[in-house]
Symmetry: D2
Subunit: 351 residues, 4 copies
């Protein structure tokens, strides 16, 4: 249960970190969309470790299209995408199979299923997001034809906050940092943290441009509600906000309400969504990322029988889920926007 | 579309603010649960205006059970609940039907449907939450038998933040404020704001006690993901966070990870959820509420033809969506917890 | 669970036979469709008892539109329809609450829920179909604009089979019999049966005209699969077939395959559906209706404790579910066709 | 859209006949169920061609478990099953890509998508059922632990009807024929038909034993309604009936109603389902199978431009969808029964 997302553009992911493969089935993609493995590969490259500064495991992640595409075009039937798990060494996990790592899903999976694949986090591994990003790459192809672009970047990392937003710059550095001045500070902070065997969190911002007004379904399937679910469903995410978000709590109505003029909205505290429906403005979301729980520092925990244990997680780990989570935020946002675009089409015809 | 929530405990709301009635159909309630109209009425009283300080419109909100209950017990068939709209004066809305009120859903509904019921906000009115709260009251009856309690309170209002949390106190004052020292400051702030014809936002905190470990479905239907959707689907909500939430972004892994000892978790930065599955700890959520958009102060906007207009919203309006939104947050949280409780039962039998 | 039907055009029915009311919430109706209570009333009249030959209980069935319509047009928000149960005498059911009536759902509801509303069959009553027919009337308004017509008639009743199909004639007689020669034979047969305190079954045929090619989703949500579910979900239905149906089992491929010529298909054994997708031909379905289980003749059964009992069901009952089931077959067919029309629109834009 | 089946036990199939592979993702399987590739392979063997009398293409169909199983036990996470398409010769289909084969889905797919993979029927190929049967094998493992058995057999083939039902015999012959006297007649009939370059239909009967009372959700998700959908969703199926089915149409209520005695129901015209809920009796379904549309005999059709064409389908084809469809009927029935078993557990705990 729970491994499918979307109403009309439906994505089902599967696979464990150290099983034979991970993958995704994309159902509901409109027919006639050009789609090549390279389109998907390009997005997978953006999330993979081995990019500068992230964990050195090589993870080639070659995606295979197994169905749904004929002579380079989608056919409207399910698109099955698969990535083999090639670099799998489960040895370091053997000793972890008997303890609950703090901050990990070990304890809750055990409570839920009474059984789990402990190798590499199993289903709860960040590797699960390969399927999400692959599906997001399909959605991207459809959204591009509608002129809709989704961009995410690292607004804050380890306490270093960006002061300006240069999207072009963000896309070209390995931390997806939009502020040239903040980038070296972030890199320095990550180095310190890694040296200490610790980790840090941060904030990712997501922007949607070119989204037509009218997407989102009142009252439960509001566009922001579905986006909140999509983003909160990513491991390590602890908060989601739209537009002025938590800052709204301290604003006055006269400050927060976005006035309308003949050229449209004159501000964007709403973050592009009013009453759960897009306004045609830029959609703005921010996502709080907790520090990655795998740290070298020794931690107190218990084993399966409840006995106190001390755990030190070996191997070289990323000091932050950022930047790998940035493309996942983009992917999930794309899934929601496309799903609602199709829903709106059902109602009114193509926008 | 979008007016149904839940997978196994399914709630469908309907109704416009100034139509004949509002209501909800609750499908999937287990049979044999004692349920009276008074049980639901008690929850509706907690959200209704006319309580001290909120808008003086009398709104009796007498709920009727139209189906699904026989001789005081639920039968497992759909429970239809209806509340007539008795205090309906649509006159003040006539002049508003031609303009888009800033901060309201007028513009986006118009963009989506090309038609809308402008009276009292129509479907986008806060009155829609009557159905949610009524459904939540049904969920409450089921959850109580499982020893699960959901409590929400006003953590912050108009910039006044509570310094201590006394849940018993919170339940007895009209602002659901848990801090006896903060209450008079909040009341004072609201008076000022109302005198200025303006409005303020705030933060609501929701806690779930007695929730068993194991609820939540990886990977998309995570418990926190579904809670985020549920809470973000409430009008005026601009952000949702779990446990340490946005503060996690500035924490170290060694600080954020909750250690486990023989008596369980020793802290709760996770907010009771790891890997999207409940841990058995208290679940803690916070919700950012924007200032209510209906303000007396004049605002710039446009009419349906795009001509600039100046709008002053008459009548006496609440200066904040809080406290009316507090019971709605409780209701939505209950819907999610119960739905996942039933899903988990399907997997493993009753917890 | 299970009281909602459809993916994009979603219908949720509620209500027990002898509760305060029955009703339906229709979610996903496109905006801007003219809709009056009379439109729905006209369809309800077609299913109601008290028409010649059916049971004489007066059952005014005045429908109320409670939401989703503003100034005579649908707004895209949920349409709540309600019919009060006015003619409710539960006395005859008191003695039946302790026994399982043969052929009724008493036994299985008891096994499922451990509790049931025995009055008038409760949720398992044919009265539940009021909500279906009301929802079907809304669907009809949308389908008419697309030039799609759904017509059902009584192909066979109590062993009397129609030899010719005159749809205009069918709509004007109380048995929905399309064959003027068969009508008096059917009426005679019903009289005999009623005199004997027994009941009979029959076959209803449904035809859909003007349905565009391309509706239906492979592989599980095939158009015929969804139609089969829709029709089989009607009480008393024991079989559903498409096109040549069960007769196909004895045909040769060279007989059954419908040849294509320049003017389209030259026969219609497929019943208008190939590979689960409409071909643009007339869609043809047939539905087997069992004899209504409420009969005056004494029957053997057991009570709640398993003791043998003899039951005689008093009151005057219809000798057949036909003709009341004919409009329900039309309604369910309309729900499926419209739902798939909207799904197809999401994929390709309006047909 | 439409490639996922089930509410709690959710099955998503993918793959084209002549693409790289076909497969299925099974979500919602309870954890702790022993599952090996051989369990699934055994079911796939039952549906594969190359068994005596069916088409001689060798089709090894070696299934791979790619996720959801750890150390031989299901973990509760999605089970991904894949079968490579090894014996793929698309040459004979090239000439068919420009014409609509009568009785095939060519025309309707073209109308729906405007594009299709013509090789081997693409998504509309019987090969799609590999995924269904593989998923059904997983369901079988769960159902066996509950003592629920599903058996299908060939009741009628090419006009030869079985006069007695020997389930043990049925499982051991290649036609799944339960009547030792009928088997040689069926084989003879098939030989004749094949010699003529034609094909025949038949009737498959499905029985469910050990199903507890109480499964099925009124009013739309009735057990028989979901079974009807499941079975009608199989290619070549033109009708579904339950219990006495279409014969009910000519029965009297006093004949059709199954009396209850102290030892339970005394007959089974209901086919084990009353009011859409299982009664605990054997569930009996019958499915009408049309003659397979691929025949050698020349047929009239048109090409993509509407020009008249004559088509002769080369290669050696099965003269009937039976017996390959028998295991598919079992698989689909299992999916429905298990899904409803889990739904009922959510309501009441394990039966």
């Amino acid at each position: 249960m729970g491994n499918t997302f979307g109403v009309l553009f439906r994505v089902t992911t599967w696979g464990e970190s150290h099983g034979p493969a991970v993958g995704v089935v994309v159902d509901g993609c409109p027919p006639g969309i050009p789609l090549k493995e390279e389109d998907i590969q390009a997005e997978l490259e953006r999330r993979r470790p081995g990019r500068s500064g992230t964990s050195p495991r090589k993870e080639p992640d070659r995606v295979k299209i197994l169905s749904g595409v004929y002579e380079g075009l989608t056919t409207g039937t399910p698109i099955s995408l698969l990535v083999w798990n090639e670099d799998v060494d489960s040895t370091p996990y053997e000793e972890l199979s008997e303890v609950f790592r703090p901050g990990h899903a070990d304890y809750s999976y055990h409570a839920k299923y009474g059984i789990r694949d402990p190798r590499g986090g199993g289903r709860a591994s960040a590797r699960e997001t390969v399927g999400r990003v692959a599906a997001g790459a399909v959605a991207k192809k459809v959204l591009e034809r509608e002129g809709i672009g989704v961009f995410a970047f690292t607004l804050e990392l380890g306490g270093v906050r960006c002061q300006r937003i240069d999207l072009a710059f963000a896309r070209e550095n390995w931390l997806y940092c939009p502020d040239p001045d903040a980038l070296p500070l972030m890199e320095e902070r990550l180095k310190e943290i890694q040296a200490e065997g610790d980790s840090v969190g941060g904030i990712v911002e997501v922007r949607v441009r070119g989204c037509p007004a009218g997407l989102g379904e009142p009252v439960f399937d509001k566009l922001d509600a579905d986006l909140a679910k999509a983003l909160m469903s990513i491991g390590a995410v602890k908060g989601v906000e739209v537009g002025s978000g938590f800052a709204s709590a301290r604003m006055l109505g006269s400050e927060h309400n976005d006035p309308l003029g003949p050229r449209g909205f004159e501000s964007n505290n709403a973050g592009g969504i009013l009453g759960g429906i897009s306004t045609g403005q830029e959609i703005i979301l921010r996502v709080a990322i907790k520090p990655i729980p795998s740290i070298r520092k020794p931690q107190r925990t218990v084993d399966l029988k409840g006995n106190p244990r001390r755990v030190e997680i070996r191997g070289r780990h990323d000091p932050s889920a950022i930047p790998r989570i940035v493309p996942v935020c983009e992917a999930m946002t794309r899934l929601v926007i496309l799903d609602h675009l199709l829903r709106q089409r059902a109602l009114k015809g193509p926008p």
